[in-house]
Amino acid sequence: MAFAESSLARQLPHGLTDMFFEQAAIKTWLEAVLQDVFRRWGYNRIILPTFEYYDALATNASPQLQEEMYRLFDREGHILALRPDMTVQAARVAGTKLYDQPLPLRFYYIGSVFRYEEPQAGRRREFTQAGVELMGAAGPEADAEVLALAVAALQALNITRFQLNVGQVAFLQAILSDAHLDNGALRRLEQVIDRKNDVELQRTLAELGIGGGAARAIRAIPHLCGDEGVLEEARRLSTNASARRAIERLGQVYELLRLEGVAEHVILDLGEVRRMAYYTGITFHAYVAGLGFHVCNGGRYDGLVANFGADMPAVGFALGLERAMLVTHPQVDIAPQLLMRGCAHAECRALAALARSRGLRVEVDVLGRDEEALIAYAQARKAHHLVSCRGGSVYLLHDSSGSRELGREELEKEIRSWSC
């Protein structure tokens, strides 16, 4: 052996994974199902590079996300990064290349993203996101479409017991607008609200000198969670017109989701303040019964595209495929439906071709095994049918019901009766 046992050549870095056999087939199924749903809603695929300039990817990123990016240098000394998400890339494309195209733009993407974080509780260093971006539409109709599409995507994956917690970051931003906080203070406050820690929240508000109606509203935010009643309460707590507008917008989106028939999956949750730094409006996380972390999240990011040129309001979501795989368990079969002994007859090759043309999974032996060895192999691979040529247009068909000899025409008829 060329490598010592301690060599890195046979190991994977922490937080990465190989996927094969059924798992790989399940993931492929998820990808196909999601692409099909996105296509039916009028979204077209956008294919983006795996790495690009760090400056582009770090646009509007929080310090935490910047830290989590894998960075590398090109030979001219420019800093590159592996993409930590695809929304910023889609925004770059829209802002720099698609500014004069008919709006709105509807894109879906699917691919790996990379984050240097501790692999735990659903987090990995490379994971697959499938998501959509709806760009060039500012209204509640666009928010509602993206939320309804998230519901459709989860349902298409046979996930039934889930809910979308929908928040509105503009509400908190409006309430804080009078306090003139810098970004650091804002982020600290968001973190404390996000943890729902009231003691720490009171202490932080006092330290930042926030009192009166603003403090009352902020202390209520972690608990504003439920149905429409939440809207009324939030309206009461609003300290200015922008806060009231933010709540009115959330109400409009909720109404549209009711029209769409998906309101049963929606919980209004103004405590939902954790976000990518670029979100400006509604945000949401999807939770599935039995899973301790979200599978899907998204929101509105109206200022992001403008960083790259054209100003364009936008809203989107991303779904984590590996997380979804923890809660949906499609039946996949990767065993060959027809296993054929390799032989030199054109007739036999034609039989394999016939089965393939009917969409069946066909495997032709390339190891020159005899019938007995092939039957053992068929069992190990759980092949549905084994066909072995015995010469003179006579074939052995071996399957769960036993072995029998068939003529060519009979065998063709048999193959045509198998469903794929």
């Binding site: 509780a121 943890r195 729902k196 009231d198 003691v199 439920g226 939770y287 599935v288 019964a289 301790g292």
Partner: protein, 220 residues
């Protein structure tokens, strides 16, 4: 009501935590707690308790293996886990302090080179020294941290202090408090969303009980 799972820390916080749940109507039979059982239900069958090492409680809750948990704020911050922490429970109050031999109090740590600090809280200590611009080597230990300065393993230590007796007995003095700590209620993020009503009911009952006790304490 859906069965909820609560992770409790084994050890000194276990009894006060069970007593708190008892006070809001979730009592456990003596038989359940007297043995070595790590998993038992309350008498109403609405809560399932699991007993875990304190440092493991945030892990059980983050993964959703437990919906709720009780854990010291010190352990919670050290874990860095992503949880809701809606309620301070008012018991097991103590402080995380930097301590050392009496002469250490006079030293200007910022100017020292090769400072060694022993602690069960390596993450919190590293963050604390980084914030203060002090370079220190953190020596992670899992117990008897007071021993470290006496045998020359470390110059200083960071540990949890209740009355301060252990420090005094080992000839050590407090230099600074890093944080105040108390028992906290923690909640899994997804559970809080998906089992909102039953969890809210428990949080509200616990909050009322904690407030009642504080009020009683003030009157006394």
């Amino acid at each position: 009501m859906e069965l909820l799972t609560v992770a409790l820390p084994k050890g000194r916080m276990q009894d006060p935590a069970l007593a708190l749940f008892g006070a809001i109507g979730y009592t456990v039979s003596e038989e359940a707690t007297s043995g070595r059982k790590l998993l038992f239900e309350d008498l109403s069958g609405r809560l399932r308790f699991i007993l875990a090492k304190p440092a493991d409680v945030p892990i059980y809750v983050e993964y959703g293996a437990a919906d709720l948990g009780i854990v010291g704020e010190d352990v919670l911050r050290e874990s860095g886990r992503d949880l809701y922490e809606p309620l301070g429970l008012g018991f097991s109050r103590c402080r995380l302090v930097l301590a050392g031999p009496p002469e250490a109090k006079e030293r200007v740590l910022r100017l020292e080179i090769g400072l060694r600090v022993a602690s069960k809280y390596p993450k919190l200590v590293r963050e604390y020294f980084q914030r203060r611009g002090i370079s220190a080597e953190i020596i992670p230990l899992s117990g008897s941290v007071e021993l470290a300065p006496a045998v020359g393993l470390a110059d200083l230590l960071v540990d949890l202090v209740d009355t301060g007796r252990t420090l005094r007995e080992n000839g050590l003095v407090e230099i600074e408090t890093l944080m105040e700590s108390q028992a906290m209620l923690v909640v899994n993020r997804a559970s809080h969303k998906l089992k909102f009503e039953p969890i809210r009911e428990i949080i509200n009952k616990l909050a009322a009980e904690v407030a009642r006790r504080e009020h009683e304490g003030e009157r006394r």
